[in-house]
Symmetry: C2
Amino acid sequence: MEDRYIVIMAGGSGERFWPASRTKRPKHLLPIVGEEPMLAQTVARLEGFVPTENVFVITNSQQLAAVREVCTTLPEANMVAEPVGRDTAAAVGLAMLLIKEKNPDATLAMLPADAFISDAAGFRKALNVAFRAAEDSPSLVTLGIAPTEPATGYGYIQKGEAINQFEGQDVYKVVEFKEKPDLATAEAYLKSGDYYWNAGMFVWSVSAISNALSRYTPTLKSGLDEIENRRSAGEPLFALLEELYPRLEKISIDFAIMEQADNVVTLAATFDWDDVGAWPAIERHFPKDEQGNVADGSAVFESSSGNIAVGPDGHLLAFVGVDDLIVVKTEDATLVCSKKEAQKIKDLVKRLDADKR
Amino acid sequence: MEDRYIVIMAGGSGERFWPASRTKRPKHLLPIVGEEPMLAQTVARLEGFVPTENVFVITNSQQLAAVREVCTTLPEANMVAEPVGRDTAAAVGLAMLLIKEKNPDATLAMLPADAFISDAAGFRKALNVAFRAAEDSPSLVTLGIAPTEPATGYGYIQKGEAINQFEGQDVYKVVEFKEKPDLATAEAYLKSGDYYWNAGMFVWSVSAISNALSRYTPTLKSGLDEIENRRSAGEPLFALLEELYPRLEKISIDFAIMEQADNVVTLAATFDWDDVGAWPAIERHFPKDEQGNVADGSAVFESSSGNIAVGPDGHLLAFVGVDDLIVVKTEDATLVCSKKEAQKIKDLVKRLDADKR
């Protein structure tokens, strides 16, 4: 337990949840699904799994104050801001440095802040198996989510032979990481039973990830080494990150390591999982009326079907003769969007940013 | 001038403009098109045409306070509330009683409170001709609006031979009042040049309308006579209306008199006129962007066309991937409605009333 650490990645921009989300308050800082912000739910889900002082959050400087407000149970020093985003491999490296400094024998889990998981017990059970696998051998463990539908919005992990077992659960060698598939491929994946959704949840020892970084991304690793060495010489972390972090190689962890390394393993996590990637996802988490409408807040539907209404209680959202819309009302903006066109919300946010609204 | 009176009919419920309109604040009390409430625009349009003390407003008890707030230039006693709605013929009768009491030799125009007319000079010119016709002979004058398109949402007036001329403008005998036509019929009307839109604007002398009421709706007229007689005996108007108005025959002025009488005349009013009957009508009064969207307030349109946005400045209405919607944001409710289904807003309002929201 004392050698187990958790690093929660909480740096997304959440453009897809505009207007609820803004640069300073992205999805993981909002109660998109559930009563608490997604990050608070993620922290709560881990309560008692490791000591509180072993839970870290990596965020960015714009969100740091809000992250500290949300994570009241964690030591303030455990919340660290990237001065700039340098993609996920750099964040993995930063997490490794933070934990290594505390405990070079540590094993750490890297978890996204904003996934929705209601089955906390199932989640902790799977996470425990992943930790045991990472503690048992210097492997890179990734949690695979057993797919429930042929989703085209996620990457997939192809499992190979079972190479170990913990708590009665098989751990498999990973054959390959797969990009988001088309529907026919996703259907084939689902049918075969050999593919899991890649939820971006990883567990590895400090030494295993350090070795993998050295082997597969030496440029990034040497940048991280410089931070580590000057930190050991007593320089303050904040100033070091300000100076050196922007120069780190910018590459994703999947591309840098997971798709290259030969010691990647996976296990089938069977807890419910939803990355709630955009507004259309939230209808999975609210009861539908007979016409398939869902409401998070006050809404009324007249000759309307398949709509999603999100707003504060006390402000009535009224739908008349419309289908398959997302309507989100916040204090200073209201979004009216076709469910099919939700990916264009990003374009809108870019335009608004350009117009400085 | 001293014998000319105006009675503005301001009693509509304005359900079609929910959520901007409510029972106590219907369309004519709102600036649906223009900066001022429609009723205030109607009063302003008449300024100087007759003395202020000759302008009356008939409304209902729920709206009386708001009407007085809007019509600050008119004497308070000139705003009279029907205790209950008894259709337009009873309102015509009430108007006649009010004016007759002031001046039995009067000629009065009955005008709706909520039409949009930007050409005030053209309007006053036509109204003057109508007054001259009604002063010249005991006829029932109705202003016909020269149609600009084959509209199916209005009733039509079929003109006959020219029987007189004032200020160089012909006055025609009316052949027939026509109900709202289908599109083919409306196209034929437009092509023939013999049909005008019925805008519900009438001018007649007290004696002409009194005689018409006696001849065509004797039951209603005897009810009105009772009010008149007891009023002459000194009873206060408010108490009399409370007691007797609810018992008056309920019938429309078109059905009771205009479709029956043989002394109905019309003239071609060529000022712009729009009764702004429902939300879709407002797009005629705002500039359109290249995709045909209009905004009364702050709005942004991404991959969207043909939408109507109505909201307060400072609250952004954002449209993404949607077409032909009406979105109206007020303080406590937001409407999202298909333009084609705008007539169903009434159904929604009924449901909300039933649910007492």
